[in-house]
């Protein structure tokens, strides 16, 4: 086992916000991979080793919810959290496990990530 650390895949078309999000999550103790688009995110997922996807909603090419559909189709047990600055939750956001606002701050993000991971861990334990 390379490490017990949880690996989060961060997806965002904007470099600087993604880099800062990565740093904040790393400070919290997570390992973070980044992808600038949904397409590259799916390529990374195929390589494996990812525990959670944290994707921006508004991206050119493939939106966060579109990416979520692909992820859930290929990896039904992969937790997905969408993060957005949009006013209204898109109607198809229900594919993702959670939808968080960008203005809620790092603490809220940590809490959401922890909650979602905990839920999947419980589900896995039940399956075993």
């Amino acid at each position: 086992m390379a490490s017990d650390r949880i690996t989060i895949l961060c997806v965002d078309d904007e470099d600087v916000p993604m880099m800062l999000r990565k740093l904040v999550l790393e400070k919290q103790g997570y390992q973070v991979l980044t992808a600038p688009s949904g397409k590259e995110a799916l390529a990374l997922l195929h390589r494996g080793g990812i525990d959670l996807v944290l994707s921006d909603q508004m991206m050119p090419g493939m939106t966060g919810t579109e990416l979520t559909k692909f992820v859930k189709a290929g990896w039904p047990e992969m937790p997905v959290i969408l993060i957005s600055g949009v006013n209204e939750i898109p109607t198809d956001a229900t594919y993702a496990d959670r939808f968080v606002s960008k203005v809620d701050g790092p603490q809220h993000l940590f809490q959401t990530v922890a909650e979602v991971l905990e839920k999947y861990k419980r589900a896995q334990r039940k399956n075993i």
Binding site: E14, P17, L20, Y95, S101, K102, K119
Partner: protein, 529 residues
């Protein structure tokens, strides 16, 4: 005309020589002379011509002059024909002539004096002509009277029809003299202004309706017509706006006025404009918020990383903290414009009473400090289906406003009660919230629920009540308020109604759930507030 102007003069004598001499004597008169050799012949002419004067010899064989005159007098058509007897002066003749007494009867004695005969015939024929003319005029007059009567009857009918039409019109139709005194007032005017006709006739329209003229109203006498909007006061004291068309009556001594009530129409147009404006403002607010949120997250994260960075000394760390605090304020504002953001996907059972208690707990210190007394009356837990975050935002806004309105103390009263359904409203939960704060100006009241409207100058975003109303409307609920003065105190009450039925988007969310994908249910995840 010549025939009519020429009178027929019938000369009767059995002696042709005499007839000829009469003809010569009478020729200068220019009348139509007819000769008859006997009474029988004379009767024949009488039947065929309109004779003005009969000049006859008294002594004729067979039927003499007197007998002919008697016959004529018995016949209604001939009764009025003038008769001039020509007679030798016998006493007996004179007596008989006098016996005719009435009627145009004269005599001439022989030998005939031509001037005298001419004069007498001329008088009678002139008389005849005049009476014929009179008859004709009379006839014509009668005909004209008949025609005129028919015309009058027709125009009266038309007038009655028009009057009926005027009464049918829903517009107010008014005629007034130049000084403004009302002369006509149709039933449309009665309906529009509430004044019955008999009470307004002869009164000044402008005093009665307190007309407010728009700027640029030109006097009718100059232009002849005028069209525009006027403000009038009804009998009940309601102010209405009418689209008015006015014109000077032909002759220029009165004004016709047709007014149509457009108050409701204007109000609807105004409301539509306002709604459109608000919707546009809402969209703009949303777009701006989104544009701010992206860099805001990056900056917030930057400060988060910076705060505990080992290279910072105490002073720099203090600055970073200040920056973080200010960022939280920015986040608060954009979150307000994000208003409808929900953390959970499905509506859950929410107790409004419990929600209010949570909010009040946060406000306790402030309320104690400001000397605000709290009166709670929960008659129900007030349970509805909804999203706790946004519901909390609604009541946090309202309670926050109330507390801020009472910096020098006062009392806050909160009531929660069930409202059973009515014809036009489902059953649900009512919350009433009254404070004794500064109150709401009538001028402010109009704009209370508009975005960016605030009375708190720099301290408020002007979005709180706008967002709150939007949330309540999403639930199919309503928010109303009243601000009044009671015993020298301002009382401001907000009443919120939220229907108890399932929140409509719950069904929407279920409907849009994917079929081909299995999405893990996260119903167990708690709602983060």
């Amino acid at each position: 005309m010549i025939d009519q102007d020429q009178a027929n003069i019938l000369m009767v004598d059995d002696q042709p020589g005499k007839l000829m001499s009469y003809e010569v004597i009478l020729h200068p008169l220019g009348e139509n002379l007819i000769k008859a050799r006997s009474a029988r012949e004379a009767l024949d002419h009488l039947l065929h011509h309109d004779i003005a004067v009969v000049l006859m010899d008294v002594s004729m064989p067979e039927i003499d002059g007197f007998e002919l005159a008697d016959m004529m007098r018995q016949h209604p058509r001939f009764q009025k024909i003038a008769i001039i007897f020509i007679s030798a002066v016998h006493l007996t003749d004179l007596d008989r002539i006098k016996g005719y007494q009435s009627g145009a009867v004269d005599y001439i004695s022989v030998p005939v004096v031509p001037e005298l005969l001419r004069a007498k015939v001329s008088v009678f024929s002139e008389l005849h002509r005049k009476s014929r003319q009179l008859e004709r005029l009379n006839l014509e007059l009668e005909k004209r009277v008949e025609e005129r009567t028919e015309q009058l009857r027709k125009s009266e009918e038309q007038l009655r029809e028009r009057a009926d039409l005027l009464e049918l019109a829903s517009e107010a139709i008014i005629v007034r003299d130049l000084a403004g005194f009302i002369q006509y007032w149709n039933s449309g005017a009665e309906a529009l202004y509430g004044w019955p006709r008999e009470q307004v006739l002869g009164k000044s329209i402008h005093l009665l309706l307190r007309t407010k003229f728009p700027p640029g109203y030109s006097r009718l006498s100059e232009a002849g017509t005028w069209e525009g909007n006027l403000t009038h006061l009804t009998r009940e004291g309601r102010e209405i706006t009418v689209a008015s068309r006015q014109a000077l009556k032909a002759g220029g001594n009165a004004t016709l006025e047709i007014n149509r009530d457009i108050t409701a129409q204007l109000k609807a147009e105004d409301a539509l404009r306002k709604t459109e404006r608000l919707a546009a403002m809402g969209r703009v607010a949303g777009i701006i918020a989104h544009e701010i949120n992206n860099p805001l997250e990056a900056i917030t994260n930057t400060f988060y990383l910076l705060r505990d960075h080992p290279s910072l000394d105490d002073e720099a760390r203090y600055y970073a903290q200040l920056g973080e605090e200010e960022l939280r304020r920015v986040a608060h504002i954009t979150r307000q414009t994000l208003g409808f953001y929900r953390e959970s996907k499905h509506p859950v059972e929410v107790s409004i009473s419990a929600l209010l208690d949570e909010i009040l707990e946060l406000q306790t210190r402030r309320m104690d400090f400001d000397n605000i007394a709290l009166e709670k009356r929960y008659r129900s837990s007030g349970t509805i289906h909804g999203f706790p975050v946004e519901l909390k935002q609604v009541f946090l806004n309202l309670i926050g406003n109330a507390v801020q309105a009472m910096p020098n103390g006062g009392s806050l009263r909160l009531h929660v009660f069930e409202s059973s359904g009515r014809a036009n409203r489902p059953s649900g939960v009512c919350v009433s919230l009254c404070d004794t704060g500064t109150g709401i100006d009538a001028e402010h009241a109009k704009h209370l629920f508009e975005p960016f409207f605030t009375t708190k100058s720099a301290k408020g975003t002007g979005l709180g009540l706008w967002i709150s109303k939007g949330i309540i409307q999403k639930y199919g609920g309503s928010i109303r308020f009243r601000s009044l003065q009671l015993a020298g105190r301002n009382i401001t009450c907000f009443q919120i109604f939220l229907p108890a039925s399932d929140f409509e988007t719950a069904a929407d969310a279920r409907a849009s759930a994917p079929e081909e994908l299995s999405v893990p249910s996260i119903a167990g995840v708690s709602d983060g507030i």
